[in-house]
């Protein structure tokens, strides 16, 4: 009697971390992607290496909804410790796939959902002798079962297995066997497909699947970074890993085999940013990747870079609260602490990518902005974007693109032009700098914080200081038209109320808009991509009676930034907030918008 739901479901894998499930789960998600259907996998993991629960949610949506959705349609429950709670998350009419090697305890029986037992452990024990392999192949057994139950294409998954083990070919046949074990068991014992199925579609085009962190690492390679200094911290660590991995492939001098980069794992974040500043002062493109706690430690140095006018690119992959626990969950909680990091009158550029393609592009662009404006630039990603694979437009690079190293004087320039390190020659607030080692007798200067005049001479004169900070403010004004402009989702403003969002909140926001539009409610929307706010941002807010600001933190930090920087009446900006550590959903947004 049931009509089948095609290409619209959430499948949850409830695993124990350290059990090798991630690779099998990834192969499943990739199979869906290869079948041409938009998919968004999200890993929810603990701050632990082995033995604690992890969940991997795969949302499949032919409509292209890529945000998180509450409610599970198909649960693959292989973690006894969380089984009871996991079962509660299954929607009525949904399915529970479990390991039926042992009888399911009656506590786990619930009305209104379907039970599909696959004797996963029993089958792998029968076919494989090494315990570690049994564990790994058990994961492939449930993938095989899903292929049958959802009516997917086995060949697609087999190809992925082949690619995955291209260098360990011996592992291909046993993986195939494990897939078949699950597949055949499901076929023989259950009506396949179940009420949910995955059918080949054509909704992917030339898109790719990538983690934001990998795209940032690669963006830094393309953007010309030669020095990376960093200290491990989830969820930013994989940025460093990606940078190093891509450098090893793409940055080795073909003649000498030596490295065209330096990659320094520092003793802490203070040292990491110190190295970045030292390297950038000395004319190299340098960056670090960290998360909230790291930015806190870097604060003093960030202020120095701001006042001494030294470029620095800082990737902040945001996460929840201090210490452990929430840090492996996602949030957008560092908007204010990054925008105003440090002491004195500081303000920093922020870029807000929302796709891997933007992670790549914004990172490369951040080096141009940092060099041109001689100031720190933050790339504000988050755990969700950084550590989960996202469907994204392909990465693009124009080979005619040149690095904009900004106003740097060469030895010839120094022969012919006057040099004053902090002279505003062009009237845009941005001064000319020299790199150590340029000229034997001209262009050297002493770098320090605020207490210096236009010729970099030490001064404690109040007016000299005022001139310095006023000129830096001019630079800030200039930057407004250089940073990425917002994206709009309407040709012209149509509604009285508008919505504003940025970063990963975009996915749920777009879904919410689409659903509401289906109900005849249309909102003008703006995705902000950078701070300082461009004129368009101010205009959008000015031309709506009320604006909902959607973000993933408790204190409505982005809203505060808008109020503070654009002098907006706070009453006009309505916060829409989610801060439980899980990526925001369209439902949460709709609830707030409709109330």
């Amino acid at each position: 009697m049931n009509t089948k739901t095609i290409n619209d479901m959430v499948i949850r894998f409830a695993n124990v971390n350290g059990s090798g499930s991630a690779s099998a789960n990834d192969m499943f998600a990739k199979s869906v992607f290869r079948m041409g259907i938009p998919v968004s996998p999200k890993n929810i993991f603990p701050s632990n290496i082995q033995g604690l629960p992890t969940w991997f949610d795969v949302r499949i949506s032919e409509k292209g909804y890529l945000g998180r959705r509450e409610g599970i349609d198909v649960l693959v429950a292989v973690n006894p410790a969380t089984m009871k709670k996991d079962i509660e998350s299954v929607l009525p009419g949904g399915y529970l796939i479990y390991d039926s090697s042992k009888v399911l305890h009656e506590d786990y029986i619930r009305e209104g959902i379907h039970y599909i037992g696959i004797p996963m452990m029993a089958m792998v024990m029968e076919h494989y002798s090494v315990p570690r392999l049994q564990q790994l192949f058990k994961n492939m057994v449930y993938v095989g079962a899903l292929i049958a139950l959802l009516d997917m294409e086995m060949e697609v998954t087999r190809n992925i297995v082949k690619e995955t083990f291209a260098k360990k070919e011996k592992l291909v046949p046993p993986n195939f066997q494990a897939l078949d074990l699950g597949y055949n068991y499901a076929k023989e014992n259950y009506d396949c497909p179940i009420n949910f199925c995955v059918k080949r579609a054509d909704k992917i085009g030339n898109k790719i699947m990538m983690e934001g962190n990998a795209a940032i690492g690669l963006g830094a390679v393309y953007g010309g970074a030669t020095v990376m200094a960093w200290y491990p911290i989830t969820p930013s660590t994989s940025v460093a890993k990606a940078f190093e991995t891509y450098c090893k492939k793409l940055r080795i001098d073909p003649q000498t085999g030596k490295k065209n980069y330096a990659f320094v794992q520092s003793e802490d974040e203070l040292a990491a940013i110190g190295m970045v500043i030292g390297a950038a002062w000395n004319g190299a493109r340098a960056f670090t990747a960290t998360s909230g706690p790291g930015v806190s430690l870097m604060s003093e140095f960030i202020g120095l870079a701001y006042f001494a006018e030294i470029p620095a690119v800082i990737v902040n992959v945001q996460r929840g609260g201090p210490s452990t626990g929430m840090p492996t969950r996602t949030q957008q909680p560092d908007i204010l602490s990054s925008a105003y990091a440090s002491h004195g009158d500081t303000k920093h550029m922020l870029l807000f990518p929302s796709t891997p393609a933007e992670c790549f592009e914004f990172t490369a662009q951040a080096f141009d902005l940092a060099d041109y404006f001689q100031t720190p630039v933050f790339i504000m990603s988050d755990l969700d974007l950084g550590m989960n694979e996202h469907l994204s437009p392909p990465l693009k690079w124009d080979d005619s693109r040149k690095y904009n190293l900004g106003k740097v004087m060469s030895a010839e320039d120094l022969e012919t032009k006057e040099f004053g390190r902090y002279l505003d020659v062009d009237g845009d607030g941005v001064c000319y700098r020299t790199i150590p080692g340029t000229h034997p007798t001209k262009g050297s200067f002493f770098t320090r914080g605020t207490s210096r005049d236009e010729y970099a001479q030490y001064s404690e004169n109040g007016q000299v200081y005022v001139n310095v900070v006023n000129r830096i403010s001019k630079k800030w004004q200039t930057a407004k038209s250089h940073v990425p402009a917002p994206e709009f989702y309407q040709k012209e403003n149509e509604s009285k109320q508008g919505i504003v969002f940025f970063g990963t909140t975009t996915y749920a926001a777009l879904e919410a808009m689409d659903i509401l539009e289906g109900h005849g409610r249309k909102w003008d929307a703006m995705r902000v991509r950078a701070f300082p706010f461009n004129q368009e941002v101010a205009d959008f807010i000015a031309s709506h009676e009320k604006v909902f600001v959607i973000e993933q933190n408790k204190d409505a930090q982005f809203r505060s930034l808008l109020i503070n920087e654009l002098e907006v009446n706070p009453k006009k900006l309505e916060p829409v907030l989610v801060y439980d550590g899980k990526p925001i959903t369209a439902t949460a947004i709709i609830d707030k918008l409709m109330n």
Partner: protein
Amino acid sequence: MTYIKPIFRHPLLPKNKVGFTKKDYEGAISTLCAGCGHDSISAAIIQACFEMSVEPHKLAKISGIGCSSKTPTYFLGNSHGFNSVHGRMPSVTTGANMANRDLIYLGVSGDGDTASIGMGQFVHAVRRNVNMVYIVMNNGCYGLTKGQDSATADFGSISKASKTPSPFQGIDLVGLAMEMGATFVARSFSGDKSQLVPLIKAGMSHPGFAFIDCISPCVTFNNNKGSTKSYSYVRAHNEATSLLDFVPEEKEITMEYEEGASKEVVLHDGSVLLLKKLAPEWDPSDRLSAFSKVQEAKASGEILTGLLYIDLESKELHDLFGTTDTPLNTLREKELCPGSEALEVINAGRR
């Protein structure tokens, strides 16, 4: 107000090999207290760079915060300088060095800057063997914040500010550096230019981290009776390990020492450090012997000075990393950007 010296060059001032007079290595007029040890160290740096014929733009001077860290303004006015933040000179210098391996890096710090707030960065710079000269102007107190005891204040030492004997053991930076595997370790005294100048020169020739702990009395806060970092105390307890002479690569060695009592240390760039050893059983290229000598001296309250240890096989950070010989800050799109074709391959791998 700014302190720029009037430019006056005597036509007859002698020039060095690269055409500069000693004046060209000077900086702005010092604003430190008259008699401050730090100013003598600045003078030794000027002397060493002049004699070494360092091209001023091929040297970068970097410091933290403190009276000591102010000194880079007072020497090498034709070199780029960077007064960074308190205790963080090592990381800034490490980064600068990563960007351009061809410059000489002169890091200047204080005992507060190094042994307290910057201890973490100091030991890690040692451990990485960053190619730099690292001078600590060690006065046993925080000069700039008005004389509080620093972590190198010796047990029982009494400063003017604290007025009571320090209840803590002082941190011995030389011993610490050796423990961390430093490849060049020296101690000197701001009042002993004849020893300090050759040490600075040798440090600049050393491929790796060259550490010079230089006792430098603070005349305002810690030069009193009872202080172990006063001029008179250091003079009375200074135990020089050797007389030093630095001979650049192209010069012939003319000095002569009694056999057995002298040692030639051939540095990486071919220059030679001649040590007239005062303790015959001690060998500065033997870590164990150097280490025990330092410990012995400490136990007997002597202040051992001179080149205490040198690793002649030292490999600096770039060599450990395998970085290209070309300074990274000169690489451009051609070397750095893999281009759209490579990106297409990466895209394809993500489908």
